[in-house]
Symmetry: C2
């Protein structure tokens, strides 16, 4: 059976030593309730829950076919109901939610670490509360006081759950062309009619009610994305006293059969004149949805970190135990029939690649979490402005770069198992199948890259990244003779140069940015990870313990063995768009 | 449902224009029976079989759970039995086998293309005849005349099938530590006892008898790989008149539950004193197995090409049909609600990456096939010597580089589908699951890289690659002003330099080669693909047709957008082994 132990020591190191979390919390009146002891206690509790409760439900949920659909009713996998009850009773649904509505008001830089453990041990399970958290965030931001009072407390007790209904069969990335209609009733409510697909947790048996947040168009709405409104559509209508009323005209038509996350019910939802209530202003629904997008997209990045950590732990254990061949330098364990495969450079290469990406990914998630916390909790307008820009810049990295690197990592970890990695019982292949969706949903990684290079870079003439590079440079210049210093400064220069090139080229050729967006996203990802290693190195160098001293070796490994990808990315960007765009459309399907 | 149309036009172009196949065949007395018309007819027949017969069996075989095991009996998926009968009656099992035993004696440079179509449409199906072909090759090379007469004709009619039994639970890459025993009987036969795992087609219902080729150790055999012998162990013993006799003491204990290729039965085989017959000389069994390894490993590369071609065709069709968003340069189809996603540079980038790798992969497979044909059919000793060295060098590339690039390609193709790529009905996720094994079996790609850098490079001081580079240089220098010329010559120089560095460093540090082997494998892969584009470009430039002229664009795309990976690979090689090896073994599992 797959193993998992939460990396608590690394998590504490990142919070405490790399980002001086306690100092940050105590210096902020809205977070002064939190200290490291409490944060560690939270993480220790989640470490137990993830290892003792949901890890063992993960493989059976996949093996037994996942969520089941029968006549509009969805049954979640064995054990999910009881585990979710425990999860809700532990207050985990509202871990980051406002105390006012029953949440625990924990900052994102802590919740990302708790979330990582759930992603490591049972990603299908994680998706049930995740959508509730997202829906709660949108309601908290945009809904009326009455709507908040009606729905939010029920979310954080786990009695009710939420969904986000955006996609339609013909409309995914391009939400401007959705067809779902909202026709107003005399009582101020709306009748919602249409079909939504890929609705995570659209129907299930974990909660008494399901509150759908639905994008739809009112009759005379402007065309495109400026004519979309947001509606609350409950599965059961809610009586004035808060009790459940009649069943609304919304139902699951089927669930998807997927590559992975089979325990998560991905539903086709049919709205047949279902009663809905507008949230916020008419035609401003998309903005309402995007309120929580920065948070959700970071969560997908954490899915990557969690999966890659799980993959690493299992691969490292397997490699330690598996005896095969002899070291190039002579037998290391002559008393055994063969040496552990850890003696082979190629096996170490794979494990170090995974670990180097994991440690930087985790630090980066906490860094972005901290920026989100500044936007939410800080009272300093300039700090909020800076953090808001930083979050805008880095959200696509957090979503796409972390999940791209996570898939690479999980694949390398699987390879450490040889043929056994392909056999289901080891859990590695499920890890890859479950992880793969993180690159696709919440905006594909290609769409993230286009967001990064468009709205976040060329549109502001590179201002966001310039400010980011300035921060990194300042940090690096303050480092002592650590080897990482030179690499960080050089990477800053390379990113500055290539960004300037991109901003210029984009003005000359409208196709330029889109055609090299993913390469730029990876370039900014590499810069970000070098920055994380600069921060990790500084913190580790201050600790007199081989466990932390080894982090300096890993940082050097990163620079020597992972960072070289930057030169390839830059060359591709410099090669431009022409060769990408010049072939006619019918070239692609012309009969070969 | 997934689509597939065999790329016959490209296949003919590669055979006829790129490699002047007919001239090669007609110039060789042992191949003079073959002309392009016959070759095209063979490919057209296989195009029909793959599209009309086995494609439709592929998804059901996966959806319905694959091969089924009940009490030692394996049932293949619905339709496999009838399809295999058709396949065998069409003479496809013996397509490349000697006419003497009922084969069709077709050269490898043709059979790789036929094989590709089966890999595209039904990889699980392909594995049944593939192992028979491999076993037949080993028997043809090493067995006695009587053994050949007994088994080979039955293989090529499809009445009997073959397996290769190497791996044991504790012994995969390291075959030197196998435990299966062979004790001699007075009649010259042996009793074979042991457990073999991961035995493809170890048990099934497609043939009347199954002939296992088994590696085992005789009682006083030397330790390690020099003490391994090869045995024929039939499922049913064969009477003197060739009819089936009693059931032998070999049986399937279970089948594996895998990530993919679920239609292929991967068996645990128990040998309980089963009667076996030695093939070739005692203690020379491993060499017997390796006879067919060069062929089998190329087949795994073709699995990659086939899967990536299937993925490409489906992704290109989906991208053409899917309307979403608008072109950066303004609406391309203003009459429609949105443009085809082919207007987006990032979608084109993905499709072109896949296609650029596919076309080079296919050409490379034919190139290596031709080299194998020279070793088999040529009467010129120097040509045979050169081709033998070339095959030795390039087999790891054909196996590992082609499958590594194929997985990258299939993943990019899946991404073109957005969320739909994650849904089983589109067939993309199965393609990836089925393909993944090609990087793992027949020696993991890491093991291939170590073979390349060890036995094939440092051991001969780089002689094999020097001769390969000389050939490429000579070819490139003969090119006219094509842009590919400079890139090819520069890549030759880079590979020459880095190979020299590797040969030197390997002498100084025994861990060096292993730790950078995969990077070197990819560097040689990139050189090989640039070489293929040099050859494709020359052939395409001679044709006055936009279909072929577009290949020059694709060649330039390859140089601009794919080849830059070389600089990253070289940097990693230059960074050496130290950072890979310096951490202690317990670092990897120390509790984080």
């Amino acid at each position: 059976m797959p193993i998992y132990n939460a990396p608590l020591k690394d998590m504490e190191f990142i919070l405490n030593d790399v980002f001086q979390a306690e100092q940050f919390w105590q210096g902020n009146e809205n977070l002064a309730h939190l200290d490291m002891a409490t944060a560690n206690a939270v993480l220790e509790e989640m470490a137990k829950f993830s290892k003792n409760v949901i890890l063992d439900l993960n493989r059976p949920a996949d093996e037994e076919g996942g969520a089941q659909f029968n006549n509009g009713v969805v049954t979640t996998p064995k054990g999910f109901k009881e585990a979710f009850r425990q999860f809700a009773e532990g207050g985990w649904v509202g871990l980051g939610a406002p105390e006012e509505w029953g949440g625990q008001n924990m900052p994102k830089m802590l919740t990302v670490l708790a979330d990582e453990m759930i992603w490591s041990t049972n990603p299908s399970f994680m998706l049930y509360p995740l959508l509730t958290v997202g829906a709660g965030m949108a309601i908290n931001d945009r809904a009326s006081q009455e709507q908040k009072e009606t729905y939010l407390p029920k979310f954080y007790t786990g009695e009710w759950s939420g969904t986000m209904c955006l996609t339609e069969p013909h409309s995914g990335t391009d939400l401007g062309i959705i067809k779902t209609k909202a026709e107003s009733n005399e009582d101020g409510s709306y009748n919602i009619t249409g079909t939504k697909i890929f609705i995570t947790s659209g129907e299930h048996d974990l909660s008494e009610n399901i509150i759908h947040l639905v994008l739809a168009k009112t009759p005379n709405a402007p065309a495109g994305s400026r004519g979309i409104s947001l509606f609350i559509v409950p599965k059961f209508l809610v009586n004035d006293d808060g009790s459940l009323g009649e069943r609304n005209a919304v139902s699951a038509g089927s669930i998807e059969h997927k590559m992975g996350i089979k325990g998560s019910a991905t539903c086709v939802m049919n709205f047949d004149g279902a009663k809905g209530y507008m949230v916020g202003n008419e035609n401003e629904g998309l903005a309402g949805m995007f309120v929580m997008m920065n948070y959700e997209r970071l969560s997908m990045g954490i899915q990557g970190v969690g999966a890659a950590e799980f993959a690493y732990q299992n691969a490292a254990q397997y490699a330690t135990d598996r005896l095969q061949g002899r070291a190039s330098t002579g037998a290391k364990s002559p008393e055994k029939p063969a040496d552990s495969i850890l003696v082979h450079g190629d096996v170490r290469r794979m494990l170090l690649n995974v670990r180097a990406n994991n440690e930087a990914s985790r630090a980066f998630a906490v860094y972005v979490g901290q920026q989100l916390d500044i936007t939410k909790y800080s009272t300093d307008p300039e700090a909020v402005r800076k953090a808001t820009d930083r979050v805008a810049l880095l959200t696509p990295i957090a979503k796409a770069y972390l999940t791209d690197k996570a898939l690479d990592s999980a694949l390398e970890a699987q390879m450490c198992f040889g043929g056994h990695g392909y056999i289901r019982e080891w859990g590695m292949e499920q890890c890859i199948r479950d992880l793969r969706i993180s690159q696709i949903y919440e905006g594909t990684n290609g769409v993230q890259a286009i967001d990064l290079i468009g709205r976040k870079t060329t549109k502001c003439n590179g201002a966001y990244i310039a400010e980011y590079i300035a921060e990194i440079r300042e940090f690096a210049q303050g480092l002592d003779a650590l080897a990482i210093k030179a690499a960080t400064l050089e990477t800053c220069q390379q990113l500055e140069d290539i960004t300037k090139f991109i901003v210029e080229q984009s003005k000359l050729n409208p196709d330029f940015a889109n055609s090299i967006a993913v390469d730029y996203l990876h370039a900014v990802g590499l810069l970000s990870f070098v920055y994380m290693y600069a921060r990790i190195s500084k913190a580790a160098a201050a600790k007199d313990d081989s466990y932390f001293q080894n982090k300096l070796v890993l940082a050097n490994y990163y620079v020597a063995k992972v960072l070289p990808d930057l030169s390839a990315r830059i060359q591709r960007i410099q090669a431009g768009a022409e060769l990408v765009m010049q072939l006619p459309e019918d070239y692609f399907t012309a009969q070969a």
